[in-house]
């Protein structure tokens, strides 16, 4: 059974937009809005090579965080969360490998099949890397009120690290 709290899992399953924070070469946080895909254990995000700066940052500094903060993008769920984790960039085959997460993507954004059908119009947008994030620590606000102290859950491995 996953250690991720059920309300956070619900957020991960329904959110159409999340904020991925990575650390740049100057040691500063940089945040990117991306669609979060969730298979029950791992968070997946994808990035076109067109917008690859974040990938370079992750390769240099794989510790990242993902927040889900916008109720409008979370199917009306009011909870909010931030998930710290370790990211790996998967890009052996930029052209096809990312399509492994298509079933998860399709569930959230069915129009992706249509967009993929027109990849000739914007070929570099469909040369993509997968960002695979293993959650380590979850901070969440059950009622979504950021003024309140959040609850925290930590992965077993992180606890022993």
């Amino acid at each position: 059974m996953s250690w991720i709290p059920p309300s956070v899992q619900r957020l991960l399953e329904s959110a159409l937009v999340a904020e991925l924070t990575v650390v740049n070469s100057r040691g500063e946080p940089v945040t990117h809005p991306l669609i979060p895909l969730w298979d029950g254990e791992t968070i997946y995000m994808t990035s076109a090579v067109l917008f690859s700066k974040k990938l370079e940052h992750i390769k240099r500094h794989p510790r990242v965080a993902v927040s889900i903060s916008d109720p409008v993008a979370s199917g009306g769920l009011t909870a909010r969360c931030s998930i710290q984790g370790d990211a790996v960039v998967v890009e052996e085959d930029l052209h096809d490998a990312w399509t492994e997460v298509m079933p998860l993507w399709r569930k959230k954004e069915p129009a992706i099949d249509f967009f993929l059908g027109t990849r000739f119009a914007l070929p570099l947008f469909f040369e993509r890397s997968v960002i695979r994030i293993t959650p380590r620590r979850v901070t969440w606000w059950e009622d979504g009120d950021p003024a309140k102290e959040p609850r925290v859950a930590v992965a077993e491995e992180a606890r022993h690290a």
């Binding site: 159409l16 937009v17 904020e19 924070t21 990575v22 650390v23 040691g27 500063e28 946080p29 940089v30 945040t31 809005p33 076109a48 090579v49 067109l50 917008f51 690859s52 700066k53 990938l55 370079e56 500094h61 510790r63 990242v64 965080a65 927040s67 903060s69 916008d70 409008v72 993008a73 199917g75 909010r80 931030s82 710290q84 984790g85 890009e91 930029l94 052209h95 954004e109 069915p110 129009a111 967009f115 990849r119 000739f120 119009a121 914007l122 070929p123 570099l124 947008f125 040369e127 380590r136 620590r137 901070t139 606000w141 979504g144 009120d145 950021p146 003024a147 309140k148 102290e149 959040p150």
Partner: protein, 452 residues
């Protein structure tokens, strides 16, 4: 400082504040906030997580509004960087750096085009890391279609068919040379398209163009890393080689000096359209070059192959075709005018005002239709060719589109598409008019003048 970013941020419902924790993981918290534009600061309300004052934070407001099942709209986000300081119960950020994107200001396609260089650099770095090429891929069919801009071959097929039809009406028709003429004309056209990409890449015009459409800004296969500059150069040379070989074969077998002159003129116009030292398109001569190349040169060339002589009729028939093909280039240059100007390409839309360019279209299109009308009435071309005037409503629709979307490249795309159709429709109607005249001539020995 950062007034625009602050004003943009003010429109968001909440922000996400992030910083790098001592363990190296970013820490994030949503927060309520207010922007004080007068003081140039962001006030952040107390959060359950203690916000740091000893390190740089990132404050981000995002408005990526999902449309469930169909993508996203109203996409915009704003990021500010700086160090927080406490002010009573609140934290205050005086931003030191800002960044953001609003698709209303920079449409997604433009944003993507602006990032082509980054994508190529990223793939180059990956290739160096792996010791193997990393390139974007498309199916060979799509790559060939894009690189050669094959759908635009109607620009060649229409005048060649008209030239063959003019000769056919005069009793000259030989199918094998007709097929070779179409192949040779298509090869010159492909050579021109590909060479245009090569020279526009070398001059920087296509790289500079961040608002390409399917009708303008080149094929983009070089900028997107799909085909190398060298390979495009080879394709252009191979296309010209095929065209020249076919041309020489026809010159020899049809024993026509006129065809040799027309063929040489066609290849020279095609090559020097963008190639130095003439670079006709850079000097505002692109429209004239295209008009001559895809008008009289193509029509007369196709006619001479069949008739083995020169007469006035194919030249007159070529005039509206020439004007309408030049108008394709003319309208397609409208969204390219800024990038063209930046690399010294003095096209007509670069030289003239919006009003002049828009009126110019109407005048030129009117001239094309007037030529058809007068030539048909005078019997220089067959009277059934007057059905070409059925293209007038389409021309008016293009004119209205130019008026309305002159400064909106992506909205102008539909108009550019209609403009390509205008040349095709009018050309094919003229061809049909000739076929009708040939049929009437064949059916009736003494057909009334009014019908032919």
């Amino acid at each position: 400082m950062h007034e625009k970013a602050l004003s943009d941020l003010a429109g968001h419902s909440h922000v996400v504040v992030s910083w790098v924790g001592d363990d190296g993981y970013p820490v994030q918290t949503p927060a309520r906030f207010k922007v004080d534009e007068e003081k140039g600061i962001v006030r952040i309300a107390t959060t359950g997580l203690a916000l740091p004052t000893d390190r740089r934070v990132n404050v981000m407001g995002s408005h990526i509004r999902p449309q469930p099942g169909t993508g996203y709209d109203e996409r915009r986000y704003t990021e500010l960087w700086g160090t927080l300081r406490r002010d009573g119960d609140e934290m205050v950020l005086a931003p030191e750096r800002a960044w953001g994107w609003d698709e209303k200001e920079t449409p997604f396609f433009e944003y993507a085009e602006r990032s082509n260089r980054r994508a190529r650099a990223y793939m180059r770095a990956l290739a160096e890391e792996r010791g193997a090429a990393v390139r974007p891929r498309l199916s060979p069919v799509w790559t060939a279609l894009l690189a050669t801009r094959l759908p635009f071959l109607t620009g060649t097929i229409v005048p060649v068919l008209v030239g063959i039809a003019v000769a056919g009406r005069q009793g000259y028709f030989d199918p094998w040379p007709a097929i070779l003429t179409i192949i040779g004309g298509a090869a010159v056209h492909i050579g021109l398209n590909v060479a245009n990409d090569v020279f526009d890449e070398m001059s920087g015009a296509d790289e500079e163009n961040v608002n390409p459409t399917q009708f303008s800004g080149g094929s983009r296969v070089i900028q997107r890393g799909l085909v190398s500059l060298r390979r495009m150069g080879l394709i252009a040379m191979a296309s010209y080689a095929v065209a020249i070989a076919i041309g020489l074969y026809l010159v020899v077998t049809r024993e026509s000096t006129e065809l040799l002159v027309i063929g040489v003129l066609g290849v020279l116009i095609s090559v020097f359209y963008t190639a130095p030292p003439l670079r006709l398109v850079h000097h505002g001569l692109g429209e004239i070059a295209v008009a001559i190349g895809f008008g009289p040169v193509m029509v007369l060339g196709a006619y001479v192959v069949q008739a083995q002589k020169l007469t006035a009729e194919p030249f007159v028939a070529s005039v509206p075709i020439a004007i309408l093909i030049a108008l394709i280039l003319y309208v397609n240059e409208i969204p390219d005018r800024r990038s063209d100007a930046s690399v010294g390409k003095r096209t007509l839309p670069v030289r003239f005002s919006r009003e002049t360019v828009t009126t110019g279209f109407l005048v030129a299109a009117s001239a094309a239709f007037a030529t058809v009308f007068v030539a048909a009435v005078l019997g220089v071309i067959p009277r059934p060719a007057i059905i070409s005037l059925l293209g007038i409503p389409l021309a008016l629709s293009v004119y209205r589109g130019i008026q309305q979307y002159y400064s909106s490249p992506y909205e102008l795309m539909a108009t550019m598409g209609k403009n390509v159709q205008l040349h095709l429709v009018v050309g094919m109607l003229m061809f049909t008019g000739y076929l009708a005249a040939i049929t009437i001539d064949g059916l009736f020995e003494d057909a009334p003048d009014l019908l032919t």
